[in-house]
């Protein structure tokens, strides 16, 4: 079936008009609210326009399709002053005012102005109420030490850097995802599977009362394979593979994608037959992709600036500026300007953040020493300016978030040498085996004071590497568990080959695309726990036979 693809180029041609409408309504509302008490001192509108197109197939048949084109606005109205305003963090929360409002796709000035006007009134009311409440509450609280300002002064940017037009050969991709997904017909033990292609074209337009006026955006094309199965003892297992690119032409060739489908199927099939893991503490190698997630979770989230100001946060690194936080052979850079690594596009890339601050590389750790934090326009301690990491999903307030995390190592060995070092370490510790984490799905981390400062990474494909030379053995149902500071000290060496993990990170300001790039790492000790068991029974009847018709 052919679906209507709404033209989005027309909207782009009129983008200058959108900026004009945004500017004029911003000024009109700002002037109008100036007479109120308390008046706003800063306002911005950020418009996000998205085109999403996608297809998912399973067992040779199309199972879902997405075609959409929407545009909406997030509104900021800051009341008070740069030092103390309505977004001041207090008792573990900041203001949460924006009310994502849908805007006309065709730059209709009446619809857009009216929506902006109503959204501004809504946000202004909530924002000014909170400021009055804060002022009252602050008097009741003991004065906090080292109170940083609430909003930084930045030079307003004006720029227009629109992404390439959206382009996806939907007919060809429909054919491919259907055909490739039929690979899973051969695997009767796999319960659910899917092969999908999705493309997203996104343009963000921001204007502020300081004079910022930027339009920029990204394209993300994502090919994804996933499979789920159940073991006879009721453990749910899954494998997946994904490839992301800023241009559909940058995706790997069909042969590679098709091989990935087969690999996902083969790996899950093997995992379903593999022995279950037992809790253990032993040395391990985390593949580049596994390490990337490991760093994103245990390190990346703890250097997000706003966590250093929030008294409810664990503040693992807050007082450690200038001190070693990682082994001296490691550096960590967050670089939203980096487009690709070894031919793989990074999806944590952007030109401007969601406060209109220009993206730039930020070296957070140099030779193991903590240098700075990821900063939005919310100053942290001595850092009075943003470093372009204020991000959000539409509908959320901006906080500091990760972009492209790059782990750099000066203690590199080849993959083969790294494996030899693992076996040597296993022997030194007199353990029967070490572990090799090949692929991980995701992780989560707790950074708040309440509760354990811990992280979990969900590995998908893990092998036991025996010290006595037996072949590696695939095991299932492994969860890595650990606490952050202890984990960093256990990194012994890294490989000389980096891998990329592109993913979506969810936190206070919603889900944002991020990337992490890391070499494989050898750790002297990793603790694993058993994965939770669903206690489900296998289906009572066998899968229908593909030849039954």
């Amino acid at each position: 079936m052919v679906l209507l693809l709404v033209s989005f180029t027309a909207a782009h041609l009129g983008a200058a008009t959108l900026i004009d409408i945004l500017k004029s309504e911003l000024q009109r509302n700002y002037a109008g609210l100036a007479k109120t008490d308390p008046p706003p001192y800063f306002m911005d509108y950020e418009v996000t326009e998205q085109v999403n197109v996608g297809f998912t197939a399973a067992l040779g048949a199309l199972v879902s399709e997405t075609h959409s084109h929407v545009r909406g606005v997030d509104t900021t109205v800051r009341v008070g002053d740069y030092h103390f305003d309505s977004y001041h963090p207090y008792k573990g929360s900041s203001g949460n005012f924006t009310n994502f409002s849908q805007l006309s796709l065709d730059n209709n000035p009446n619809q857009i102005r009216r929506t902006l006007w109503l959204a501004t009134d809504h946000v202004y009311r909530a924002s000014s109420r909170r400021l009055l409440q804060l002022k009252n509450d602050e008097q009741l609280l003991a004065e906090q030490k080292d109170v940083a300002a609430d909003f930084s002064h930045e030079t307003p940017e004006t720029a227009s850097q629109l992404p390439e037009p959206f382009s996806l050969d939907t007919a060809a991709w429909l054919k491919k995802v259907r055909a490739w997904s039929s690979e899973f017909i051969k695997y009767a033990d796999i319960q659910a599977s899917s092969v999908s292609i999705n493309g997203r074209h996104e343009v963000r337009t921001l204007v502020s009362t300081e004079g910022a006026a930027v339009e920029h955006g990204t394209n993300i094309y994502r090919f994804e394979v996933s499979a789920q199965g159940l073991t006879p003892d009721g453990m749910q297992l899954s494998t997946f593979a994904s490839f992301e690119a800023a241009d559909a032409q940058h995706l790997p060739p069909d042969s590679v994608l098709q091989a990935a489908v087969k690999k996902v199927a083969d790996q899950l099939s093997a995992l379903l037959k593999a022995p279950a893991a037992e809790p253990a503490v032993c040395p391990a190698i985390l593949s580049g992709r596994a390490s990337a997630v490991f760093f994103h979770e245990i390190f990346g989230h703890r250097v997000e600036g706003h966590r250093q100001k929030d008294v409810a946060e664990g503040q693992t690194f807050t007082k450690m500026l200038g001190e070693p936080v990682l082994p001296s052979f490691l550096s960590v850079v967050f670089d939203p300007t980096l487009r690709s690594v070894n031919g793989t596009d990074l999806i944590g890339r952007y030109d401007f953040d969601d406060e209109g601050v220009r993206a730039r590389p930020v070296t957070v750790v140099e030779n193991g020493i903590l240098k700075t934090f990821l900063l939005s326009r919310s100053p942290v301690g001595q850092f009075e300016h943003s470093n372009g990491h204020g991000r959000r999903e539409p509908g959320h307030e901006v906080v500091s978030r990760q972009s492209n995390l790059i782990v750099k190592s000066s203690k590199q060995v080849s993959d083969r040498e790294l494996r030899a070092e693992l076996i040597a370490e296993v022997k030194r510790q007199e353990k029967p085996y070490g572990l090799y984490f090949e692929e991980v799905a995701s992780g989560y981390t707790t950074t708040r004071r309440q509760g354990l400062q811990a992280f979990t990474v969900v590995p998908l494909v893990v092998y036991k590497v025996y010290a006595d030379g037996r072949p590696d053995e695939l095991i299932r149902g492994v969860d890595i568990v650990g606490t952050p500071l202890a984990s960093f000290r256990k990194i012994l060496a890294t490989s000389d080959r980096v891998e990329v993990f592109n993913g979506y990170c969810g936190a206070e300001s919603g889900t944002v695309p991020v990337a992490a790039v890391s070499p494989a790492i050898l750790v002297s000790e990793i603790e694993i726990q058993k994965k939770q068991n669903s206690e489900q029974k296998l289906p009572l009847l066998p899968r229908p036979s593909p030849a039954a018709e």
């Binding site: 959409s68 209709n108 509908g395 018709e549």
Partner: protein, 680 residues
């Protein structure tokens, strides 16, 4: 039938909406959101509207084996349903727990939607959901896994969009396995509960039904001109630019075509074609004190092209705007006790609301001792055979009628969701209660469906609702005579004016906050049963002149009060509406909808208590509204500019194919599945 979530772009909606919906709602109809009107999620299969070209079929007999074979050969989806249904009969977990009844209901729906505000297009697109409902009963007709407190929560799945036999069967296989396992658990839990408590029902759990074979032709959506409707809706929405006092507004259109394939182990095989289209005009205005007033008009028809001419819709856009402007200037009503005349839509809405409550007979579930029963007894539940209405009133449901005096009835259908042929049911004859709405779930001594199961009900059952409800008066009055009678009553009461209600908020378009406020106010007033608040109510003075008032609530009104009706008009009104089965017909109250109609005359109560609604307003916006750009009030061919409307030009009007009713602002959000690589 269930309402699949509209697969919106994964831009999020406001948190307000999320909190109103609660996490995990699959297809959540969120509250009204002005200024940002999203496309409403759409009914998968609204109703069984049999098409003119439906294949005539034998009913109540086993299908002709040759006809069934022909069907299975030509319809891949049916073949997959049939083959997997046969295999699922062999599902067996422990000893006696084999399924005794299995049904599959697969909906194949195309929905085109477009929505715009103030001349700006917000969204437009086509979606194609294919949900499947699997029902499995274990035990036997007398005692099974249904009708217990934990019954029937698991039943939905989605089938592949391609007619791929193997992929379809694999989907059905997994859904059946899950539903069957859950069914056995439900039966065990139910038996365990009954070790400690009494079964509140002596009736069997499920009524057997002779098989039915019925096939409609599969409809197509080829004749739908998406661009035309996108443009028209955009143009129409631009007319509100001439009404700057209207705070927020929107126009949305939707066209739906659906084919539902149903098959069960009793031998019933049906393929029912549904078509539905609507166009929604919604607007909101603030009173001087900042209290929001809103109104919505919903035009419904079978197909988008059957909607009225653009010029006629334009007239209605202008009307809703001017009516809101009038309402804003109108005085607030005071408490009132005395004669009340319900006219037109208000009479039909009042009957729809009050009679649905009275004619429903919910079955009490088997529940743990500590669990409070949530079912409120209907006011007529123990009045069978009794005088419940004036003897000049008859009430019946006749789904076989497809029109009433030239106006289409959208509640027309042939076969219900349980595969039971629709039946004409006389509920009240000469004032005497004769029947209730019944599904295949027996209640007390009422065993056997009357073919009204059209929505998903609680505890594994279906919810019987109206098709075409007729309220028929044997003695009627002309409008003038009725008004005279009304004013006589007012005068006899010693009052200066009486109240006429012309429009109710039925089905209720309120958002979550508004409906809560209304319920709270009614509770404070001590009302147990009531109807939705009036939108258009007038004081009619003894000299006959009228004054619009705003902010009235009907304090207490149930079917019990219908005994106090003293007269009826002679011009029946047809209300076609989206039926959610929720209280007040609340459109945001359920994701499951069908179409119903009510045909009723205007009616006069000699006395009712009305109360003044508390207006809890916020303040109007601080900054004045932005000026409207004149050029945006564009107007297509055949459409009169807004400024000229109402100045005597002749507008071509289509015949009364269209019915006025109210609907919510379209609003919804759908969560896209998280990518597996999502990390925090």
């Amino acid at each position: 039938m269930a309402l699949p979530g509209f697969r919106k772009a994964d831009l999020p909606s406001s948190r307000n909406q999320k909190s109103a919906c609660g996490a995990g709602t699959r297809a959540c109809r969120a509250g009204t959101r002005l200024g940002a009107i999203l496309i409403r999620p759409v009914a998968a299969a609204m109703i069984l509207i049999a098409l003119a070209f439906a294949t005539p079929a034998a009913r109540g007999a086993e299908p002709d084996p040759a006809a069934k074979e022909k069907l299975l050969k030509s319809d891949v989806l049916f073949r997959a349903l049939s083959d997997e249904l046969e295999r699922s009969r062999t599902l067996q977990l422990n000893g006696d727990l084999k399924p005794y009844f299995i049904s599959y209901s697969a909906e194949d729906t195309y929905v085109f939607q477009t929505n715009a505000s103030l001349g700006g297009l917000l969204e437009s697109g086509l979606v194609h959901p294919r949900p499947v409902t699997v029902r499995i009963r274990v035990g036997d007709y007398k005692f099974d896994n249904s009708n217990a407190f934990f019954s029937g929560q698991l039943r939905m799945g989605a089938l592949p969009l391609d007619d791929d036999y193997f992929a379809l069967r694999t989907g059905l296989w997994l859904s059946s396995d899950q539903v069957y396992k859950r069914a056995t658990e439900e039966l065990t839990i139910k038996r365990n509960i009954l070790r400690d408590t009494q079964n509140p029902e002596h009736a069997p759990d499920f009524a057997p039904q002779p098989p039915v074979f019925h096939l409609d032709a599969v409809p197509s959506m080829q004749d739908l001109d998406q661009q035309k409707w996108t443009d028209e809706v955009t143009r129409l929405s631009g007319r509100f630019a001439s009404h700057p006092d209207v705070l927020a507004s929107g126009v949305a259109a939707r066209g739906l075509i659906s084919t539902t394939r149903y098959i069960n182990t009793e031998g019933t095989v049906t393929r029912l074609a549904d078509q539905f289209a609507d166009l929604e005009i919604s607007a909101r205005i603030l009173t001087a004190e900042g209290f929001p007033l809103h109104d919505t008009i919903l035009l419904t028809s079978r197909r988008l092209r059957d909607l009225p001419e653009e010029s006629e819709i334009a007239r209605q856009v202008d009307q809703i705007a001017t009516q809101l402007e009038d309402l804003r200037r109108a005085p607030q009503a005071d408490d009132y006790s005395g004669p009340v005349l319900f006219e037109a839509q208000a009479a039909a809405g009042m009957f729809a609301s009050a009679l649905f409550e009275a004619l429903s007979l919910p079955r009490k579930p088997v529940a743990p001792a500590a669990q409070e029963a949530r079912e409120i007894e209907g006011v007529w539940s123990s009045r069978m055979g009794g005088k419940v209405l004036p003897e000049w009133l008859n009430v019946y449901d006749d789904p076989a009628q497809s029109e009433f005096r030239g106006t289409p009835l959208s509640g027309h259908y042939q076969i219900d969701d349980e595969g039971v042929p629709a039946q004409k049911v006389a509920f009240v004859e000469h004032g005497e209660l004769k029947n209730f709405l019944l599904s295949r779930t027996p209640v007390r001594d009422f065993v056997g469906s009357d073919g009204h199961a059209r929505l998903a009900g609680p505890y594994g059952s279906a919810l019987p609702v109206f098709g075409n409800l007729f309220v028929e008066a044997e003695h009627t009055e002309t409008p003038a005579a009725l008004k005279a009678k009304f004013l006589d009553l007012v005068k006899a009461n010693g009052q200066k004016f009486g109240i006429v209600i012309r429009r109710l908020d039925f089905p209720s378009t309120a958002d979550f906050v508004e409906i809560q406020q209304t319920m709270k106010q009614l509770a404070r007033l001590g009302a147990v049963h009531s109807i939705p608040p009036p939108v258009l109510a007038y004081r009619v003075y003894l000299d006959g002149h009228e004054e619009l008032v705003r902010g009235l609530l009907v304090k207490e009104l149930s079917a019990r009060d219908l005994r106090n009706l003293v007269a009826a008009g002679d011009t029946p009104y047809v209300l076609n509406y989206l039926n959610t089965g929720a209280k007040f017909g609340w459109l945001n109250g359920s994701s499951d909808v069908c179409l119903s109609s009510v045909v009723s005359p205007a009616v006069l109560f000699d006395s009712l208590d009305l109360a003044r609604m508390e207006e809890e307003g916020s303040k109007p916006p601080v900054v004045p509204a932005p000026a409207m750009t004149a050029s945006a009030t564009t107007c297509g061919a055949g459409c009169q500019p807004a400024a000229e409307s109402g100045t005597g030009h002749s507008v071509p009007r289509r015949p009364a194919e269209v019915c006025l009713l109210q609907a919510p602002f379209p609003a919804a959000w759908t969560e896209l599945p998280c990518p597996p690589s999502r990390s925090k």
